[in-house]
């Protein structure tokens, strides 16, 4: 708690929280690379957007880096084999999600040879057309590695189309416990800067601002050294404050610009990418390698040997933990399993869930760290109001959600909530505020879906009625027409007969 922070607190400029970051000693340990496990579990949905569609058959042999599921729809990402081996099943597995529900996945048995396909790299990415870079990044299945896992190519091409001026690179890593970005900035600074330059080329932005929290001095030094000769890439230390790594907050701190509600950073000429994504983009363009592995942090009081590990996507958390030295006392005292960071990560039901592209950490917490407790009544202390980085009133929102008044909660800003967890972190009554907000957003989404379905049903019923009416009308018209035709025919026949008779009579007369 520095003097400046105290000063800002007194001025009231005090959004966010200052959690104990718990990044060391894990951040200071050298990166370990985990060997290929026996089996890999690759969910078809590892990104925001539409799930990928499998393009392999059970029993098929695949090589490392081979496409096994293709992107479906505008916002989606393909999935590649993280190692060579045999597809053993396409089935449902436990999702890396608190619900413990299942989702479809491809299961790959490794053959141990770890044999790459032919990768089509590119020696001079800056000679490529930006559109081509976007296509290559999309084909490599690169998604945002900061946690949200949004397909990166969509953002790159979208930024180029919107003619953004500034590329903001998120090296904030504001989540406590996590240090995978920190570790990569220390170890691979030159490659990250190269990746950033490729991204600049792809987006057409003139400058890149790399925001790194000032609790990572080694990473700042390494990145500054790597970017020293690259004037368009600027390393900008930012104060350590959660959620500094949140898009809108980081943009505001780095550029002074405020992203309008209900709009995107594109609209103010900015696009934001994570440092890990810069590395993945570089690998996709320079080496032609798809995204099949990532660095994640193993941490928490229950782990024997916390640190950063490079892991193939699809490896079970169980095996990553075993590789990282296991849990203390084989998991005695384990209170909570979390994937991601402690502030926004997900609790998982057991360790047999796979690492996906967006998994930034595997955390094993003891009871003291999670501090779980029955909530007390709200004492209206306003801590949540001060902590909220979005300027919302969490206590008012939760009170309304408690009464199922979801629309009122929306009226006071529910849709602007970024679920960062600052409010629940500071709440003295330990009210699970984020749970309220997530629940309400889910309810609202369900209401919207219901409304859409009702409208669709109504429309269908209306169309059916119209069709029935039309058909009845057509039938009636057809019947009337036939009747008229019959009558006309009968009349014609009668007329012909009459004429014939008359002719006969005339003939008879003349005869």
């Amino acid at each position: 708690m520095g003097f400046m922070n105290l000063f800002k607190h007194f001025l009231g400029d005090d959004w966010g929280v200052h959690p104990d970051d718990r990044k060391r000693p894990a951040a200071d340990r050298p990166l370990r690379v985990m060997p290929v496990p026996e089996k890999l579990y690759l969910p078809l949905q590892q990104h925001l957007g539409g799930p990928a569609r499998p393009v392999v058959l059970v029993g098929q042999q695949v090589k490392k880096g081979e496409l096994i599921a293709e992107a479906q729809g505008m916002i989606s990402a393909p999935i590649h084999a993280p190692t060579s081996g045999t597809i053993v099943a396409v089935t449902d597995i436990t999702a890396p999600h608190p619900s413990g529900l299942t989702l479809p996945a491809i299961i790959l048995a490794a053959d141990g040879r770890d044999e790459w396909i032919d990768c089509q790299g590119c020696a001079d990415p800056f000679a490529l057309d930006p559109v081509d870079i976007g296509k290559r990044v999309a084909a490599a299945g690169v998604v945002g590695l900061g946690g949200a896992a949004f397909p990166s190519a969509v953002k790159l091409t979208g930024a180029a189309r919107s003619k953004v001026k500034t590329l903001v690179i998120n090296g904030g890593e504001c989540e406590p416990y996590l240090s995978c970005d920190d570790r990569q900035m220390r170890d691979r600074a030159a490659e990250i800067v190269d990746g950033i330059r490729i991204m600049l080329h792809a987006t057409g932005a003139a400058e890149a601002l790399v925001g790194i929290e000032d609790n990572k001095p080694e990473a700042i030094a390494a990145m500054q050294a790597a970017a020293a000769a690259v004037p368009e890439v600027q390393i900008r230390p930012v104060p350590a404050r959660y959620p500094m790594g949140s898009e809108k907050q980081l943009v505001q701190v780095l550029t002074g610009k405020e992203v309008a509600a209900e709009s995107r950073t594109f609209d103010i000429g900015i696009v934001v990418h994570n440092v890990g994504t810069a590395l993945a983009v570089r690998a996709a363009i320079r080496d032609g390698r798809p995204l099949i592995s990532r660095v994640l942090t193993i941490n928490g009081n229950c782990t024997n040997d916390p640190g950063n590990i490079e892991v193939l996507v699809g490896t079970l958390a169980e095996e990553v933990i075993a590789f990282a030295g296991g849990l203390k006392g084989d998991g005695i005292g384990l209170a909570r399993r979390v994937m991601g960071g402690p502030m926004m990560g997900m609790q998982i039901p057991h360790w047999r869930v796979p690492v996906v592209k967006g998994t930034s950490g595997i955390l094993a917490f003891d009871a003291q760290e999670v501090a779980a407790q029955e909530p007390d009544p709200c004492i209206r202390c306003g801590s949540c109001v001060k902590a909220c980085p979005m300027g919302l009133l969490p206590l008012e929102m939760s009170a309304r959600i408690g009464n199922a008044a979801y629309d009122e909660a929306v009226g006071i800003g529910l849709k602007d909530c970024i679920a960062c967890g600052c409010c629940a972190y500071v709440c003295p009554s330990k009210i699970p505020l984020v749970q309220y907000f997530v629940h309400a957003k889910g309810e609202l989404a369900a209401q919207d879906r219901n409304k859409l379905r009702n409208e669709a049903t109504k429309k269908l019923a209306q169309q059916r009625q119209e069709r029935l009416d039309r058909e009845a009308r057509e039938r009636a018209e057809a019947a009337a027409k036939r009747k008229a035709e019959r009558e006309a025919a009968a009349a014609a026949k009668a007329a012909a007969e009459a004429a014939a008779r008359q002719a006969a009579e005339t003939e008879g007369e003349s005869a």
Partner: protein, 361 residues
């Protein structure tokens, strides 16, 4: 594939907590009250201690009874959060130090049952429970509630011993006249009503109030100790500076103007700030979480309102002291203040519309 085995109850993020708790907050406030309280024991002797103890005890007792009647499952946990103790403590601080036992019990009943539990318990009450009890007692029983004793070190009489004190507390021994006195505010009001100029009525300045050497409520006397407690709360971030500063400024500014215009009719800002419940009100009552606005801007407005109303009541009202009334009036205004003082949502203007996107971005 894997059976869905939920080994733990699912909970949403965050999976970490800052460590703050209701009981820690309440404990810190009590710690901040401790110096003034201990000093009060020294000033007023055993009767004050009995009053303090019984007020807290009755508050906790009525809280337990209410929770039981309401069918709350976690009675012990709720009692241990310390809120009832704090209510009792604050109420005791505002009572005359030698008030009889039934004032403590009745005060505890009004504060907890009428002031808090009928609204639904902790966090639900509109008015500050201690102030509700204080005002109800004052209006219902003006005599025992305005019987002020001189601090014992200043009194000519010998300090009552334990048994004597107990008898005073239980009402079997009358409070000797020799130890009673008027408060500064009360004296000023009486003299003004007699048409005596304040310059003539007040011989000594309010300086002695810094150390509480003047007749007054049990815990309101030593302004310096209350101030220290308040500063401790500011440093530990239990409270922010907005409400206290608002209260002090709300009293001091009109007092300074009025005193400057007519010193014979209006008390000086120093006398206002150091007398009565003002310091306690600024740091401990106006900062009550439940009954004050949520935003810092709101708290500043709330504080200014409390201060201004206090000055108005003291200067023009029938009562010599007005902090409790002012707090209750502003408590009623809190929902309105909260409605108008909302923080601006990031990316939106004050009205909630998304901010304009600059054309040349």
């Amino acid at each position: 594939m894997n059976p869905v085995s939920l080994t733990a109850q699912t909970v949403a993020s965050p999976h970490a907590h800052g460590g703050n708790s209701v009981s820690r907050t309440m404990f810190r406030v009590q710690l901040a009250l401790a110096p003034a309280t201990l000093y009060g024991f020294w000033l007023y002797g055993w009767p004050a201690f009995f009053l303090w103890a019984l007020t807290i005890l009755s508050c906790v007792g009525f809280e337990a009874l209410s929770l039981k009647l309401a069918g709350v499952p976690r009675i012990k946990g709720t009692l241990l959060d310390g809120s009832a103790v704090l209510t009792g403590w604050l109420l005791a601080m505002t009572l005359p130090p030698w008030a009889p036992w039934w004032v403590a019990v009745l005060g505890g009943f009004i504060a907890i049952v009428i002031g808090k539990q009928v609204f639904g318990g902790l966090g639900q009450n509109v008015f500050n429970p201690a102030m509700v009890a204080r005002v109800a007692l004052l209006v219902s029983f003006p005599l025992p509630l305005t019987l002020w004793v001189l601090p014992l070190p200043m009194s000519a009489l010998a300090t009552p011993d334990f048994v004597g004190s107990l008898r005073i507390f239980l009402g079997s021994l009358p409070v000797p006249d020799a130890v009673t006195s008027a408060t500064l505010l009360g004296h000023a009001k009486t003299e003004l009503s007699r048409g005596v100029d304040l310059a003539a009525a007040l011989h000594a300045g309010p300086g002695l109030s810094w150390i509480g050497m003047r007749a007054g409520s049990f815990g309101e006397s030593a302004a310096i100790l209350i101030l220290c407690g308040g500063l401790y709360l500011l440093i530990t971030r239990v409270i922010s500076w907005h409400a206290p500063l608002g209260v002090l400024a709300g009293v001091a500014i009109p007092a300074a103007i009025a005193h400057g215009v007519d010193p014979g009719r209006f008390l000086s800002p120093e006398a206002h700030l150091l007398s009565g419940a003002l310091m306690l009100g600024a740091f401990f009552i106006a900062t009550d979480y439940v009954t004050s606005p949520n935003t810092t801007t709101g708290q500043l407005i709330f504080g200014l309102g409390v201060g201004l109303l206090t000055w108005v009541i003291r200067s023009f009202g029938a009562y010599p002291e007005g902090v409790a009334f002012a707090v209750l009036l502003m408590n009623a205004m809190t929902p309105v203040i909260d409605r108008f003082c909302k923080p601006r949502i990031l990316g939106r203007d004050r009205k909630g519309k998304p901010i304009d996107i600059p054309e040349n971005a």
